[in-house]
């Protein structure tokens, strides 16, 4: 069972680009194997001996062997493991790299591993800083001190808790034997070096912004957003006027506005590309006014036009002004929902109950449930039939595919380079036939410049 850490974060933010973590964890477990894993040795501090220390060169050698890569790549891989926080250095603990010598490292405990679903909490950091404060008797490093002050300010309402927890955690840690205490301190310190690095250091945990949707799966269809994006791009790339040719031509390039006039909302005969877009999805059909007209025609022939009319009424209510809302809602009720209404729509009993109840105190979204129901009805039923109907086939047959613009009658304006050259030539001519009075020359030139001016803008 996977427990999603919603933690009552109703915004449900997800961190992207952490898919590598699961793979790293597998590698890390392999490294633990007593026979085939990395060789460990005891670390000797002044009087205590702590086991399970590994050297940088051993890690690199193991990685090179396991993945059949060269030493340089193994070193980068090793540094990545350290930067992510799965292995921490025992000496020079602030530099998160693997050194290919006898420097010592140790594995981090699973609780302190970086994970996709457990974001690093500021409360924990505050508790850690308070503990460190106790340990260091008030002398924190500069960036830690700044963070401490900052947290004290904005987390002030929790500060009593922070102090209490810090003291208790400090006391609890003292209950362990000396070697374990040392290890625990190193572990915790390493964790915060990774997740709250001093300013100016590059952190492997920098992932940009939180995402609105889970980058690993799409909740409804089970496809990842990547697949959906690929699908969307493949479908629409032919229709994008920037990526593909736009028929007859892009007005921005040829100064010819035929494309816009051909694709207006009330045009009698649509273009082939436009009609093709209606087949992509029901949403596409409804959002194009010409498409909606076609669909309306089809529904009229089928005598089920009330569904679309109701849907449009709901849209009108949603987007309309607040003043008109009450009467609009009443109108819709009288026309579509009341018993014996002239254009009665067929929705299920429960939705009808909710809607009627809501209409007692109408607001913008009171008809949402009914609208969704009707939308899905049209989408699943009418839309399919529409695409096979004679109405649609007729429209498709009549649809035009305009010819490509041949750039024949295009009249480009004068290039500014040529205009500048002409200006200079004229000045030279003036200078050659110059009258003696210089002011006359200057005024003549400036007059000519002004005359040239309006012509440039054409």
């Amino acid at each position: 069972m996977t427990i999603r850490n919603a933690l009552r974060d109703h915004g449900q933010r997800y961190r992207p680009r952490m898919a590598c973590l699961k793979k790293v964890e597998k590698v890390l477990l392999e490294m633990q194997d007593p026979c085939t894993g990395v060789k460990s040795q005891p670390q000797r501090l002044v009087i205590t001996i702590i086991p399970h220390a590994i050297t940088g060169e051993d890690i690199i050698a193991w990685l090179a062997d396991r993945f059949q890569i060269d030493a340089q790549e193994a070193r980068s891989f090793g540094s990545m493991l350290v930067a992510l926080g799965y292995i921490y250095p025992l000496q020079d603990h602030k530099r998160l790299v693997i050194k290919p010598d006898a420097s010592l490292y140790r594995f981090q405990t699973p609780y302190f591993w970086p994970t996709q679903q457990w974001p690093v909490e500021d409360t924990d950091y505050a508790i850690y800083l308070a503990k460190r404060n106790i340990r260091k008797k008030g002398i924190l490093e500069l960036h830690e001190q700044e963070q401490y002050n900052h947290l004290h300010k904005w987390m002030n309402h929790k500060w009593d808790f922070v102090v209490m927890q810090a003291k208790e955690q400090y006391r609890a840690a003292k209950e362990r034997k000396k070697p374990d205490r040392v290890v625990f301190d190193c572990q915790e310190r390493a964790y915060w070096v990774v997740h709250r690095p001093p300013p100016g250091t590059v952190s492997a945990m920098d992932y940009g912004l939180d995402r609105r949707t889970d980058p690993n799966t799409d909740e409804v269809t089970g496809e990842s957003p990547h697949d959906l994006l690929v699908k969307y791009s493949a479908t629409y790339s032919g229709h994008d006027p920037f990526l593909s040719k736009c028929l007859p031509s892009s007005p921005w390039l040829t100064d010819d506005t035929t494309y816009w006039t051909m694709n207006m909302s009330n045009v009698e005969i649509p273009t082939k590309m436009r009609v093709e877009r209606w087949t992509f999805s029901f949403k596409e059909l409804l959002s194009d006014p010409r498409g909606r007209d076609d669909f309306r025609l089809f529904l009229k022939k089928e005598f089920s036009g009330e569904n679309l009319a109701f849907w449009e009424g709901c849209e009108d209510l949603k987007w309309g002004t607040a003043v008109t809302m009450r009467e609009k809602a009443e109108q819709i009720y009288k026309t579509f929902l009341a018993r014996g209404a002239p254009r009665w729509i067929n929705i299920d009993g429960k939705t009808m109950e909710i809607t009627v109840k809501g209409l007692k105190h109408p607001h913008r979204y009171v008809l949402d449930a009914a609208q969704t129901h009707i939308y899905m009805l049209m989408k699943k039923d009418s839309y399919g039939r529409y695409l096979k109907s004679p109405v649609f086939k007729e429209t498709l047959k009549k649809a035009i595919c305009p010819e490509e613009h041949k750039f024949k009658n295009r009249r480009p304006s004068l290039s500014p380079i040529i205009i500048r050259q002409q200006e200079q030539e004229q000045r030279a001519k003036m200078a050659a036939n110059a009258p003696v009075d210089i002011t006359q020359v200057m005024s003549k030139l400036s007059k000519q410049g002004k005359e040239m001016g309006p012509r440039h803008s054409k």
């Binding site: 399970h52 457990w118 308070a130």
Partner: protein, 225 residues
Amino acid sequence: MGKEECKTMLDALNKVTACYRHLVIALGSTSDSQNLREELKKTRKKAQELAVANRTKLTTLLKDKTISKDDRAEYERLWVLFSSSMELLEVDMKRSLEIGQDFPLKVPTRHLIQTGMTGSTNAVAARAMSVQNMKYEADSNIDTADLRDLQTEITQVSQMMEEMEMKVQVAPWAVVAKQEAGAELKSNMSVGNSSVGVISISCSLFLFRVFSCSFECKKKKHCNL
């Protein structure tokens, strides 16, 4: 008086939360063992008892409309302490479930991470239970059986916290802390360094010059959640 009782119970909950966190950190590492799992289970049970007791006590106190403003402010402060403890506890419970599932003990070859920690955690657990020595009584399949219990307990705690958020009308951001910056340096940490502590207090207060937090609880706004 209600306040004193509350405070003692909150202190106890705080202590148990701290010990529980300490135990969870050892999960999956070489200091993981049957005993650790049992310690986790017992500490967790104790934490839950304390949580329920605290909640009932605090909700009754907060529901009382006849208390003075200062009293109410104090109870709100205690409520924030309580809910923060519960948040920590909940996260730790969820993480212990996750790690416990990833590192099973009843397998032929255990794959525990060689973290360098090899000692036992029974002193920490004893501290949580406030008993002299832990008594180990569990069966050998504690890790799997306990995990199922843990799942149900986690749902219970989550539900309790949802209820707390929805029903108790306390604005947590409006609480003013009684402790100033550097307060953790003040009280006697251990028998040995109290004299060192006195000297360091004046230094630390000098260092943290920016803050002059007031010690009285100010008037709070009551927001309806």
